[in-house]
């Protein structure tokens, strides 16, 4: 093993700006994917809870596909396979964000479903009793209460997508690991650069995970 004294921090500080730019790109692709998952998840959850099998079957199949196929396979499929067939051609960022969003939508649908189920049935009955329409009851009574239950697992999903977003560099997105690899090869300091990159991304994930914990406690304040 190399002694600790040989750990060269200057190669990290010299390249900190491109590394941080790359880190920002990873966070951005994760955030875009999370946004797609949040938007797709709700209709998916509602369709999955529908009484009509015409809505339920495709939703169940979608969730099975989203949760059963590894993220890396989805990224490769969207980036290489779809382009070969001329279905669509995506850049590395869009392919990564879409892969994260499609995978995340399956998880997000489950989060919405259990959050909506967690609202006591009496709330719906009470809303109907005071004369709210079905859409009003959903919008004014169900959603605010379900959001409180859904937020902590949703933030955990964001952490999961953030970790998944590091994979987008395999299709050539110039993120932090791409930068780390370039500099590591040029300066021959792989240990320093990969350690710095790992510490930076772990820092971001831990902050996001801590925020999820704080949000959970903050949202459950004032509850019995």
């Amino acid at each position: 093993m190399v002694p600790v004294a040989a750990f060269d921090t200057s190669v990290i500080t010299d390249n900190l700006d491109p590394l941080l730019d790359g880190l920002l790109l990873t966070v951005e692709v994760a955030a875009a994917g999370f946004g797609i998952a949040v938007v797709l998840g709700l209709p998916l959850a509602l369709a999955g809870a529908s009484v009509s099998p015409l809505l339920r079957a495709p939703a169940t199949a979608w969730i099975a596909l989203a949760r059963g196929i590894p993220l890396l396979v989805v990224i490769f499929w969207l980036y290489y396979a779809a382009a070969q067939q001329g279905l669509f051609s995506l850049g590395d960022f869009s392919a990564g964000a879409l892969a994260l969003g499609l995978t995340g939508s399956g998880y997000m649908a489950e989060i919405y479903r259990s959050a909506l189920n967690a609202v006591p049935a009496g709330q719906r009955e009470a809303a109907a009793a005071i004369g709210l329409s079905r859409s009003q009851a959903f919008r004014l009574v169900l959603v605010p209460q379900a959001a409180r239950t859904a937020l902590p697992p949703a933030m955990n999903l964001f952490v999961m997508l953030l970790k998944g977003a590091t994979l987008v560099s395999v299709i050539g997105m110039a993120d932090m690991f791409y930068v780390a690899k370039l500099v590591a090869v040029n300066e021959f300091k792989p240990f320093e650069l990969y350690t710095a990159a790992a510490v930076l991304i772990i820092g971001v994930t831990l902050v996001a995970a801590l925020a999820a914990g704080v949000a959970e406690r903050w949202l459950s304040r004032g509850q019995r």
Binding site: V2, V73, Y80, Q84, Q85, T166, P190, Y194, I201
Partner: protein
């Protein structure tokens, strides 16, 4: 739109894909077994009477849950190996990385399972004169395992899916084989679609088999309230939660 799809090369390379599936299965099972051991150790650390051990367990679990598998693999393979002047063998290194990260998830699973057993069980066992070891082995552990089984199944499914990431450091599992032949034939659509279908099929088989195992673990419970309500078909299982 979809013109000239040709799956015959996929069928011709079925031997390579099957050997990739074999590697995947081997790595998954070994990593899962090691994660159970690591999870028990970490969960034990969290319950230790010594404060430093408890804190160390907490920090280890938090950090390992924050690390992406891809990041850990890159660091081991290109960082640590270069600093130490040695080379990792991809398969053991992949198993090491998978086991380390999933030990932390497994520790959380066991901790929740441990807390879910009512304290009266312990009091009753000790009142009957059982030794602490007998209580743990014959009363406590079976109940913890039974409560933890569904969440353990989720970890196993995640491990199976995560083996695909090992392809980036050269483990010749299913994804690596698919990539190799997709490039060889220049048919990414056929090979990646096949890979997705195979992963999905394996995940479904594992999920169904695990359901049977859970039902088998509850076979002695005759009371209606001891049987949890029927869960939704296949993918209605517990929330992704911490992943």
């Amino acid at each position: 739109m979809i013109a000239g799809v040709d799956f015959t090369p996929v069928w011709e390379q079925r031997g390579a894909l099957l050997s990739g599936i074999g590697t995947m299965a081997l790595i998954s099972v070994v990593s899962f077994a090691l994660s159970i051991v690591g999870g028990l150790i970490l969960a034990g650390m969290r319950r230790s009477r010594s404060v430093p051990i408890r804190v160390a367990g907490f920090v280890l679990i938090q950090v390992m849950r924050g690390i992406a598998l891809y990041v850990l693999l890159l660091w081991l393979f290109f960082g640590l190996a270069a600093a130490g002047g040695f080379q990792f063998n991809p398969v053991p290194a992949g198993i090491l990385a998978l086991s380390l990260l999933n030990s932390a998830y497994m520790a959380e699973v066991f901790r929740a399972g441990y807390d879910a057993v009512p304290p009266g069980q312990k009091e009753a066992a000790l009142a009957l004169g059982l030794s602490r070891w007998t209580w743990f082995r014959t009363v406590h552990l079976p109940q913890v395992v039974q409560v933890s089984l569904p969440a353990m199944g989720n970890v196993f499914v995640d491990i199976v899916k995560d083996t695909s990431v090992l392809s980036v450091v050269g483990v010749t599992e299913l994804m690596r084989e698919s990539q190799r032949w997709a490039q060889f034939y220049d048919l990414p659509f056929e090979f990646y679609t096949a890979a997705a279908a195979i992963y999905l099929a394996i995940v479904l088989v594992v999920t169904v088999a695990w359901r049977r195992l859970e039902r088998y673990s509850r076979r002695h419970l005759v009371h209606a309230e001891a049987t949890p309500p029927r869960r939704r078909l296949l993918f209605g299982f517990a929330l992704p939660g911490t992943r």
